[in-house]
Amino acid sequence: MTTFPSITLTAQAFEPGALLTTFCAGRDETGAVASFVGLARAEHGQARLLELEAYPGFTDAAIAEFAEAARTRFGLHDYRIVHRIGRIAPGETIVFVATAAPHRRAAFEACDFLMDWLKSRAPFWKKEHGPDGDRWIEPTAQDRTDAQRWDQERN
């Protein structure tokens, strides 16, 4: 099946296109690949540097457990998750998620589902370095609402 790791946490800047190409290659029965790239915004000159802390061995295990549940739930062929940790400058990629499925509805929903969880419930600690100093931040109300959409089964 996959010849690449499914989940990577990395302190290095990475290039989402290369990941997408690798993920799409050599697929004969996958009709649909949905993907998402999360980028650090400059917030119009507020220029917040983002810093993400993970607990290696704990964070990746939690992501793997959730992603495997998503694979079953949506009948995925495959997924790929790459998440930056450490200091992230505006415009840099924070997260890449790709999902492969026979048809597009499952691929889209699984990608959306994984992102909602990663943004609100994954074990990261996030700090913004802004003009007024540093602050640790928590999930937004929108993040919680997005993630809760999936707690009840949808058709």
């Binding site: 999360g38 061995g57 704990f58 990663l118 943004k119 640790w136 931040i137 999930p139």
Partner: protein, 79 residues
């Protein structure tokens, strides 16, 4: 003796992220850290702070060995 890890704002508050602590249970870890730094002790008991032993969340007490890794996890922000 156990290896204690702090994450997020807890590490910033304490001024360290990892150190050995002489303790045979989570309660003893909390007591040792609070004894030395009462504000940190209070923060570790604060709302939403979870404890993991050897990378698995533990609710309540756990017996620690010399090889145990105890992590205090403030509320997670997501990525």
């Amino acid at each position: 003796m156990a290896k204690v890890l702090l994450f997020g704002r807890l590490a910033d508050q304490a001024g360290w992220r990892e150190r050995p602590v002489e303790a045979a249970s989570i309660t003893e870890v909390r007591a040792a850290l609070a004894d030395e730094d009462p504000a940190l002790g209070e923060a570790l008991d604060g709302p939403g702070v979870q404890v993991a032993v050897d990378k698995a969340i533990v609710r309540g007490e756990a017996v620690l060995t010399a090889a145990s890794e105890v992590a205090f996890l403030p509320p997670m922000s997501g990525g």
